[in-house]
Symmetry: C2
Subunit: 450 residues, 2 copies
Amino acid sequence: METFDAYIETHKDAFIKEFITFASQPSIAATGEGITEMAELTRQKMADLGASVQLLEIAPNEPPVVYASLGQGDKTLLIYNHYDVQPVDPLDLWESPPFQPTLRQGKLYGRGVSDNKGHIMYRVQAIRAWLATMGDLPFRINWFIEGEEETGSPHLEPFCLAHADLLKADGCLWETGGVDEAGRPVLSLGAKGLLYVELTVQSMSGDQHSAYGTIAPNAAWRLNWALSSLKAPDETILIDGLMEHVLPPSDTDLALLKAIPFEEEALLANLGIKQWIAGVSGFEALKRHLFQPTCTICGIESGYTGAGPKTVLPARAKAKVGFRLVPNLTPQTVAKLLRQHLDKHGFADIQIDLLSAEHPGKTAPDAAVVQAAIAAAREVYPKHEPVIYPLIAGTGPVWPVAVAHGTPLVCFGASYPGAKIHAPNENIVLDNYFQAMQMMGRFIANFGKR
Amino acid sequence: METFDAYIETHKDAFIKEFITFASQPSIAATGEGITEMAELTRQKMADLGASVQLLEIAPNEPPVVYASLGQGDKTLLIYNHYDVQPVDPLDLWESPPFQPTLRQGKLYGRGVSDNKGHIMYRVQAIRAWLATMGDLPFRINWFIEGEEETGSPHLEPFCLAHADLLKADGCLWETGGVDEAGRPVLSLGAKGLLYVELTVQSMSGDQHSAYGTIAPNAAWRLNWALSSLKAPDETILIDGLMEHVLPPSDTDLALLKAIPFEEEALLANLGIKQWIAGVSGFEALKRHLFQPTCTICGIESGYTGAGPKTVLPARAKAKVGFRLVPNLTPQTVAKLLRQHLDKHGFADIQIDLLSAEHPGKTAPDAAVVQAAIAAAREVYPKHEPVIYPLIAGTGPVWPVAVAHGTPLVCFGASYPGAKIHAPNENIVLDNYFQAMQMMGRFIANFGKR
């Protein structure tokens, strides 16, 4: 791989420049801003690699999937990425504009530089380096790049289940990955699912003077009490019947978990906190993080939130609540239990709107695509034994894209715990970026042999 | 009073035009918008009546008090009003622009038309009519018009306590009043107090990906649980020790309460609800409304509140909470009990910022100023016995302006239950406006005799 590595070394400045241009294009799935332009930019990147590319309309007037095929061979690798990003607010907390990627002390800052445009670009550039130095690809690559991952891929599942021919593969390289606090390469074999809902309370026909707080119903209070009925201050999820569906980790899962060097102190410091919630620490915190579902208030709003005091009794209140789902919790199950729970606890008036739903999914560690990634990691990071996560705490459409078709999957990439994905000042460490590119070369070689 | 009434009748169109101009000037205490211009406009109105007027600086760079003196006599009437208004949001719910007062079906719509600019204007126009038709005023009027009532008069109390000479009077006519659902004139003899605070939770150094909801502290959840510890779903205030300070209504209070024809069905319909909270109805609802304190979430905000789903774990959450205070609850007592309660229940990390504080205060019904108003109401509304509220459920600085100086007070005016004060589409019924003007003439005559 010397010529491959040398090619990367001599092209570093050009690669960074190309990456900055790629990440400068806004592509916010939640608002639609820049999505069309980003799909075209991504299509062009794939075409420049020599791929045959289609823009797949997965639903009318929704972000298309960029679907690229390149290389030949008996084996097929499916790659999954997404070209959309999270919204940028609160904008005033960014130290440089989110869509003007900016280099500071070896890191590139900007929305999407880690999640997920950096991961598209290191793979593009690794394949370009491979084609320039190693010859043809040893297998076929079908690259599936969607544009609404950050809104929970709302149209992906029916499309994927109806188009197994586009997705069927011997292995799948998933969207992201990276190194942990100590710089160890981290590989992941699955992802949690998600149910994301909006709860709305309308308690009166309109806002009233707060003097009526004595006798008239306050939407903010009703929402507050309904939320408190979902989760206790000790972090126990109280939705009737929900926890019964949670599959405990298997022996294989626990063995993988035990091998993970959980850098607890560094992660706590990174989040600016002294201890975890729910009284857990060490191995128990890690086990909880990966194998317990969440019930998270992602946003709440009611009444007057401007400057100074306003004595109003709010008639309307809204909360966005996200549930991360572990095997065997499905979004359908949780949605049904949530409705039943609210009805039973006196909150039948609270409206539930479904904003996102995804199944959890994971892969057994002995799959060829996993072993190829493990071997690649050992080559690029010789000082560290790779860390294998049986699944990640985040979510992606692993089920409709891979797991539902029997395709094993693995994640590796260029991120790190300080990447601030989904938050202001998202960033990527350039050293990690180029190491992921080197690993991609080894992974192509290894998966080609297996 | 025939000539007085005739003067009003012939000047109705001009009076409405003058009122619209007066209410067109924004004067939002919470943001400062238009306050300086409104103080000047108010000063000019007073000067045009022949008053000697001062702009009193009650605190540096804060809205001045317009203080006007007119008339001569052994007796002094203090009038209290305010020229500031509430913010206008949510702006999209207004059917006409809040600062372009608009006539529709006998009502004038605009921010402040009821609270409190309509009440300044009917009094100005009544005095003008008196001077034009009845001669000199039979007593001295000191008119105190402040500019930060809607933010809880934050600088008024120390100023008033230090300037008793400006305030000392034989009676005080308070800012507002009106008719009830059946058109009966309503007089009020006091007001509740207020403590308005902002609660802030900072759970981590910054927002995180919601995958960390398993183990990292969510500011929105902490705030939610803290709020739920303050008031139960059955509306019981749970703050340790608070209810012990509540003075039950006296026999005189209960006698006044029992004489109030509580138009329950009309009020319920007006608010768009089927029943009151806390299981009360009829007399119990009225008693609760006037003699129980409130604990109201006036606003809450955390995390992502834009369109679509965003899977974020919020590091920061804020709630605005207002407490309406009945005798003998003081803002100081409630602030202290709230801090103790949060500390005791595991929420010592929650920051409390004081945004507003006012004492409750009320007057005995046998005071001359009250009896003069009752007699005036009987003359203008011969079909109805006036309804006397021992105190109103709303708040104003009755304590520092009147009660603390031993001045009895009464409220009457031009509002009605559909006025939507503090809310979109605030309005005033013009018939009520002119009847309040007639009543002001009779009140001047009656108070002059007593």
